[in-house]
Each structure stands twice: as C-alpha cells, then as structure tokens.
Amino acid sequence: MLSNIGNSLLIINTLLSISIIFFSVQNLNSSANLINKNIYQMCLLQSTLIIICFFALIAAFINSDFSLITVYQNSHTLKPIFYKIAGTWGNHEGSLLLWVIILTIFSFLFLLHNREYPKNYSLYTLIIQNILIIGFLFFLIFNSNPFSVISPIPREGLGLNPILQDPALAIHPPLLYIGFVGSSIYFSAAIGSLLSNFTDKSFAQSIKNWVLISWSFQTVGILAGSIWAYYELGWGGFWFWDPVENASLLPWFAMTALIHSLIVLEKRNLLYFWVIILCLLTFILSVTGTFLVRSGILNSVHTFANDPTRGVYILIFLSLMIFISVLLLFKKIKKNNYNLNANSKEAFILINNWFMVFYLITVLIGTVYPIFTEVISDHKVSVGPPFYNTVIIPILVLFLFIMSVGPKVKWIKDKFNNFKSLLIILVGAILINFFIIYFFKSYSLLSNLIIISSIFLIISSLKDAIQSFKNKNFNFSRVISHSAFGFFVLFVGLNHNFSVEKDFNLKLGETEKFENYLIKFKNLQLKDFKNYKAVIGEFKINNIQNKKEQLLKPEIRIYENPSTLTYEASIRTQFFKDYYVTMSNIDRSDYYNIKFQKKPFMMWIWISVVFISFGGFLRIFKNEI
C-alpha cells in the first residue's frame, strides 16, 4: 500500500512539475506584473506532496515493510528505531528522494522570497529548477525507485551496514544535501538571470542568503562526515582525500569563492559574469560529485553499491547541464569593464577566488586522474594524501597571509600604511611558533610555515575585531569565520606534528613499551548484544612522564545482519588530546594487532569548523533582520 502511495505521489509530482513549467512559460509572455497565484499554489502542493512521499518511505522503514525492495535491502527488524529512520536516506534510492525534496522545497521557498524581484527572473528560475526536478524524478521513477516492490514479501531484511549506524552519519546526508543540492537554486537563478537580463547588483541580493545557507550547511555536512570517519572507521584520521570526500569538497570551494565574489557584485556591481560562472559551476560540481560516487567509476571506501545504468543516466544529465550552461554563457557573455585597482578589496577577493579555483582544480584533477590514465593508457595509478598535501599546503601558507591582509583593505583604492603593524604581528607569530618548538618538539620547515601563517591569521583577525569594535562597525561573521579557519589550520598542523602512533602485535597479558608510554593488554571479554557479539579488549595506557593512566576498550564486533566484522575504536577524549586505540585479530594466531594513537587537539579541530560555519549562519541572520 505504501508502495502505491509513494509511486502515485512521485507521478503526481512529475505532472505538477510539468504544469508548473507550462504555466510559468505562459506567465512569462503575459503582460501581468505579478506571478500568477496558481503557480504559487502548485509549488506549495508540490512541496507538500513530496514531503508526504518522504514520510511514506520513512513509515515503510519504521514498520519494516519488506515489500519494498529498498527497505528489504537496507533494514532489519532488530535495528534500533533511530537507525531505521536514518536508513531511509542511507541508501541510494532513499537519498535520491532526499535530493528531490531539497530541490522542490528550495524551489518553493526561493519563489516566495523573491517577490520583490522581477517576475520574469523568478519564472525562469522556477522553470529551470523544475526541469532539474523532473530530471531527478525520472531517474527516481525509472531507475532507482525506492517504492519498487518485491514479491513474495521477505520475512526479514538484509540489514543496514553497522558502520552506517552512527548519529553523525545519520545527519550527514541531510546536512550535506541542503548544501550542495541547495546550490541548485542559484544554478537555476543564474540561468534565470541570464535569460531575463536581470544582471545588476540586486541579483546578488536575491541569491546571497541562499549561497550562505548552502555554504554553511555544506561546511557542517562535511564536518559530520569527518567526525563519523574518525569515530566509526577506526583509523584515527578524519580526512583521507577519498573520492567521496573530495566530491563534497569541490562544491565547497566554489561556494566559498562565490560568497566572496557576491560581496563585490553587491557592493561595486562588478564581476557579474564571474558570479554567474561560479553559480553554474557549484551545482555542476555537485552533480559531478554524485556521478563519481554513485557510478562505481572510482574505487573508494564509501561507494554505494554499483549499478552501471545509474552512472550512464547521471552522466547524460550532467552533460546536458554542462552544455546548456556553457552555450547559454557563450551567447550572453559581454565584455565587461573591469574597474579594478591592485590595492583594493575587490582585487583581494579576486585573489581569494584565484586560490579557491586552484584548490578546486587540484582536488578535481587528483580525483579524476586515475580515470584518465586508465582509459587512455590502460594503466592504473593511485592518487592519495601525499599528492594533495604536497600540492596544496605550500599554497595554503601564502593564502593564509593574504587572507589576513585582504579584509582590511578598502574598497576601490587603498594606501598600504599599516605595513608596520603587520610586521609586528608576523614577528609575534614567529615567536609563538618558536616557543612551541622550544618547549615541545620541532617539525619540518613546511609545518613551521603553516603554524606561523595560521597564527598570523588568528592574531590579525582578532586585532581587526578589537579595532572595528572600537569604531563600532563590527563585522562579526567575517571575523568569526576567518579566525576559526586560522584556528582550524593551526590545530590540524599541531595535530599532525604532535601525534604519536604505534602499530604492534600483542598477546593477552603482554606489555608494549615505546617513547613514554606503557601499554598492557589486560583483559579480553566476549559479550552478547542485541544485534552483535563483541570481543572487547582492555588496555591500560600508562604515561610514564606524567604518571597518568587511561583504560581503553577497543572492540571487534561480529554482526549477523548483514554478516560483517567491524573494529570499534576506543577513544578517550580529553581537553587537549584524544587517546585512540584499535584492536584487530590476526588470523590463526593468538596475537592481536594493536594500533595506539595519541591525537592532540581533535576536539578543537571540530570546534573550529563549527565556528567557520557559524559565521555563515550569523551573516544570514544579520541579513534577514
């Protein structure tokens, strides 16, 4: 029954989208100044129905309705209810439904919030957005339908992969989708702007909050993914430059560039076509990322199960999007007068964009290069962290310095008379870095530069904040995001250099000694839980230097549905560091392979990213009131 409801709603929504497009086209040519009321009503109906459709799917999961293939493949009666619900979007078909929901709701809300802007602009945006919606609905209905049935109805489901049963992973897709799926709306708005010739600074005002919303959510979405990887995957890292992670980072770079360029467009009415390019690029990158992840073209730890037809459909959709955007741009692009001085805030924002494009291209090339070498020369290569770190980090140092200077530069033209104060801050940063080296331990030249440049950014942002507070022209959101970014780089740099890692094999009762740690394998227990059995190891970590003791209990979990083995890390989070221990069994041996890690500042890395995103939310709030 739920299957019928779901399917009908999907078809009704497709028809609704078609009629919205039809009525909008009609409305375009009409002489009326306002958008036809019917259109608003249809959009409201569209949003309502798709939400009901989603709830129908959730209901199917909660009730363990195994007549639906998706529920059968991804759920199980013994699953805790929270994860039954999260399982709705934790699979390919369900997550596509989430795509459609965000596309639809954003379409409606954008329409509502743009009533003060030209009618044709809104209508064109609505038409393009609905074309996107139809594209995804077709994909959903004909290829990846969450409401497809299976007969006879199985009595039990195949279960949800246990490593996906984690709170951070439960919210990771919704957050991320508001981010990069939400970018669809300014993709459509950009085309709408081109078609309706709505090109002045009010276009920037029309989309700026939407860009901020998608950027802020994208930031926390990426964070949720990293937190999940850290806690669940048992490797102690939080970023692996894995294709799926890169897929979420690519739109983020474009969004960041866009946020900054929008400021220029709004303030000085410059860079219109560049803003359009960025708007189009962000969503194109989002769909590209989806293609790379779901088509199975890349080997990655996070890939969904593979089905080649998915890849073909998404690629066709992506190609159409790219061709239409590019051809439209070619037709409409005009030579612009660039009234840009070298020493102006506009120039610095352009520089920000230049660096963002660099990061974007680097990550994009690194991710897709293996595809190219394989197709062209039948030769497989791996591109991993060493490549990205080597290429990006040196440039990041430069970027941090420029980021410190940029915000203070005046619009149009500035005379650089605060050189002396910058020098003082630089010396301060070097001194702090020196103290770190002196009191703790030294590290590579590159790390020195990263630490110095991030401290430089932090100090100059905070000094900025104090100064503008005195002058009462406070830009809270910028200061928070920029200094948080500085803190983020600083903590990642310190974490990288002060982490301690040891990989060794131990038998029950044995002790391993290295550096100033003593690790004793105290106990091994077997425990039965609701849907798994656990082998729990007890390890006593003794810090010889400060005589402190920790007890960590990593686990090996044996699941039945589906039949998998997972390794649960034991993490002891403290104010300044995390202790991280994983244990895995060695086949046909009494020995266990133990990985011990001390990771400084983990909590602070998470907190920094939260604040980066918080700056964005604050700005939206400030814009709205």
């Binding site: 073209i297 890349l298 890849g311 690629l315 061709f323 190219f372 394989e374 197709v375 046909r588």
Partner: protein, 176 residues
C-alpha cells in the same frame, strides 16, 4: 575571432572529458597485477618445506616451465583448483612448485594427504614475506614461468578450466 577559438577550445575540452567518463564507466575498478606479466623473477629466496635449505633462482632454471602455486590448508578456494593441479602434475614439461603460505606444517601435510599432492617441490612461507617478492597479494595465486624465469602468466584466484587449457596449450606449443 579570438573569442571563437576560446569557445571551440572550451567545448572540445568538455566533450573530451565527458567521453573519457563514458568510456571509464565500462572499466572495472578492481585492480589486479596481471600487467606484471613479462617481468623476470630475480633474487628468489624461499624456505624449503621439509628440508633445512633455501630455494634460489637456480632451482627454477633447470625446469622448462614451472607453475608456482601459492596455497594454504585454511584456504577454501584452494580446494577448488586442486583437481587442476593434480591433472597438471601429469604434464612432463611442467614442474609444479608449491608455496605453503602462512600455514602450519601439520595442517599442510594433512591437507595434502587428504586431497592429493600435486607438488613436485614444496616451499613454505610462514609469514607471507617471501611471497611479496612474487607480487602475491592473496591466495590462491599461481605464476607460470619459463626457463629464464620470465613471468608468462599470473593467475589470480583459483585456476579455472580456461586457465588449465591455457597452460596445456603453452606446453604443447613449446614441445621441443
């Protein structure tokens, strides 16, 4: 004019990239080391299974063809290919050389007792370290080499009927 060039260039780059993606969809993303065929094995070092000596390059050079088979008593798929190994044992030009991988001597011997011993010679690799020099990353795996220690073919996974026929073919065409 300059503008038209930029347009053409952009479009061609986009078409190029999209075509690569289309073709890439059909390629498998699972890696195997079959492309190491043609390499010459060198500096071979293995522990003999029962005797207290090392097996080196020269022990292989005296055979026309050798099939080096990596196996273990605890490996399920190894049982699948065992009949083919026994059949191949009958081939005169081929020596079957087994490497017992990360196994216990008793278990290995009882496996061979129960299922038959196709190996002309047997080595052991208790920790799996020596097998890395052969580019092994899972078992069962087999390598077909000739007199000059050139890798003719790598068989990843248990030998299939096709693999068996292939080997027999190679031996036939080199019957001199």
């Amino acid at each position: 004019m300059k503008y038209k060039i930029i347009q053409l260039l952009t479009l061609s780059i986009i078409i190029f990239i999209i075509s690569i993606f289309f073709i890439g969809l059909n390629k498998s993303s699972i890696y195997d080391t079959k492309n190491l065929e043609g390499q010459v094995l060198k500096d071979i070092k293995l522990d003999h299974f029962s005797e207290n000596r090392l097996i080196l390059d020269k022990d292989f050079k005296k055979n026309n063809f050798t099939l080096i088979n990596f196996w273990a008593s605890w490996c399920g798929p190894c049982l699948l290919e065992h009949p083919f190994l026994l059949k191949l044992n009958a081939e005169k030009n081929l020596k079957i050389f087994g490497v017992n991988f990360k196994d216990k001597k008793n278990n290995a011997l009882s496996f061979l007792d129960k299922n038959g011993n196709p190996y002309d010679e047997l080595a052991k690799d208790e920790f799996g370290k020596y097998s890395v020099s052969f580019g092994i990353y899972g078992i069962p795996e087999s390598i077909l080499i000739n007199k000059n220690l050139v890798i003719l073919k790598k068989f990843i996974g248990p030998l299939s009927n096709n693999d068996y026929n292939y080997i027999v073919n190679v031996l036939k065409t080199n019957e001199n």
